[in-house]
Symmetry: C2
């Protein structure tokens, strides 16, 4: 420990009686070094408990081996599988994840993206974030690879991996209609993805020749809590137009709605059917278990990571948006 500081590559070089450059090669391009030297260097490094300073490495080399991920809220389970998938694949490739939450605030969003760029992350993954025009422009100018997820953006900034929200919602509507439900309700937020789902849902309903769905919009910036689902279901039930099935834009809302029904002694699906979205863990265990839409949250994350790696390591062209699809999982709530 040189005077309280950790050892540098040069200390290892001295210890192993080779040059600084050789030590560097041992760690980053081992084939260029003879077996014997390589071993000597490794021993010296171990003796000194040497840990390469990757920041200095990033500085000299071109890459930081850090990927920034931006989510609306870290504590929301909606995106956590995606982040987990992202993290796993990145780690394996020796990249690290820098994570930040915007709290649905456009200014925070911009400031976080700036911080990421300032740290010269090799890529940025945006999980269902707002992406306001200033943020968009910042990213377009920066030239850093960007992956937008959870939707198939019409004009992505760069890369995209997700599924068609309108299609998934339309399929859900048709599913409910096929099951015989006729008076549909829709509970969702006001964010872009919710609106897209509403659009698809509404279209499918009207194509089936049914009355437009009863819509309960949750104004909260974070339309994803159990409580809000419960409150929305309460409003839904208070309406004049009675519904026989309610589609919620995520499983948290759906579970909240389901619990609200239980609290009121309503039978699900007898009195009203409830359908969720995302296939979170919770949907599988409630009683009744929730019919929902599987969207491969984790795969979205791992694909995003893979796209980034392909782009950085190979110099592959920009891939087309990747459609991860969706499928409806039928359970007992419908």
């Amino acid at each position: 420990m040189r005077d309280g500081k950790s050892h540098r590559m040069e200390d290892v070089a001295v210890e192993a009686k080779v040059s600084l450059a050789t030590v560097s090669r041992v760690f980053s391009q081992p084939d260029l070094v003879s077996e014997e030297t390589r071993q000597r260097v490794h021993e010296a490094a171990a003796r000194l408990r040497y840990l390469p300073n990757l920041m200095a490495g990033s500085m000299a080399g071109k890459r930081s081996r850090i990927v920034g991920a931006l989510v609306p809220a870290i504590a929301s389970p909606i995106f956590s599988e995606t982040i987990s998938g992202l993290s796993s694949v990145l780690r394996e490739a020796r990249y690290e994840l820098m994570l930040s939450q915007s709290g649905y605030d456009p200014e925070q969003e911009l400031s976080i993206l700036q911080a990421f760029l300032g740290r010269r992350v090799d890529a940025i993954v945006v999980a269902g974030a707002v992406i306001t025009p200033p943020s968009r422009e910042l990213l377009l100018n920066a030239g850093t690879p960007v992956v937008e997820t959870w939707e198939l953006i019409a004009e992505p900034i760069d890369m995209a991996v997700g599924f068609s929200n309108p299609d998934a919602a339309a399929a859900s509507a048709r599913f409910l209609i096929d099951r015989g439900y006729r008076r549909l309700g829709f509970i969702g937020g006001t964010d872009r993805r919710s609106m897209q789902r509403l659009e698809g849902f509404g279209t499918a309903v009207s194509e089936a020749g049914l009355a437009a769905p009863q819509v309960i919009s949750i104004k909260s910036p974070a339309p994803s809590s159990f409580m809000e689902g419960g409150a929305a279901m309460e409003r839904m039930l208070r309406q004049d137009q009675k519904v026989d099935a309610v589609f919620c834009t995520n499983d948290l809302l759906a579970a909240g709605a389901l619990f609200e029904c239980q609290r009121r002694g309503l039978a699900v699906p007898g009195d009203v059917a409830v359908m969720g979205f995302s296939n979170l863990d919770i949907s599988e265990v409630t009683v009744p278990a929730l019919t929902t839409v599987q969207v491969g949250a984790r795969e979205i994350g791992s694909h995003a990571a893979q796209m980034i790696l392909d782009r950085i390591e190979g110099q592959g062209a920009r891939p087309v948006p990747l459609d991860t699809g969706f499928s409806i999982i039928e359970r007992q709530s419908t």
Copy 2:
């Protein structure tokens, strides 16, 4: 854009007709620069869309302004509030969060900590991780500030913020006993915190002169899913010794257990009471809502962040472990 690369401080210096050092000062110690120059530099920077390279800054200065956080699983809601609290406070102080998951694997844990140290993070926060001896030794030698959370470690590596798991569990046992329950069950994992809770719980039960609790141990490395709670409850009910109240080491297990009871038509709390731990969102909305133990998950995170900041910015001495306490929240499930 110098030939595809982003601008450097020197470009700004030229544009503003000042020296490199002055530009640096404008960004890091603005008081040292005259109002007029400062403005000129800011204008030049804006004109060039200059974004300071914080990595280079970290390299030259002493700090990376990055904090590493290690959790067992990113997708587990148990620690996500803690991480969120951590992230919020750090961001405000212009620090970034580097997040990684060990997947309960000691080797991963070690490798992640090495990666953090290699990146010269300014501090490391460990959220209820395993901390195997090799990891521990690594951190002890590194000299990087470390915060261990979610328990009051006897000999922390460095700093600690959390609560007494045995005490919290003992209080839970006494709570159930006070409510008249006599044949208690305990559902938990085999990780250290679960074991501590079991110990506290058992002690309180025996001090009350009751028979030892029926224990169902979940061997899974990630003892935190709804499914596991359900399976454990099923085993519990299949035992000879009948129980009238079951304490679960987290709300996910408790909710899973509750749903299992619903599935079997058992009344909660009539036939069996269920109590959880952590006060996750879910505990508030199930029917019946779960009695649980509030542990201030988010505060643990924000306190950890504050400790780190105090330590880094001030040169405060190592603070004593911070006890964030706990409190029992009585709801309808008991």
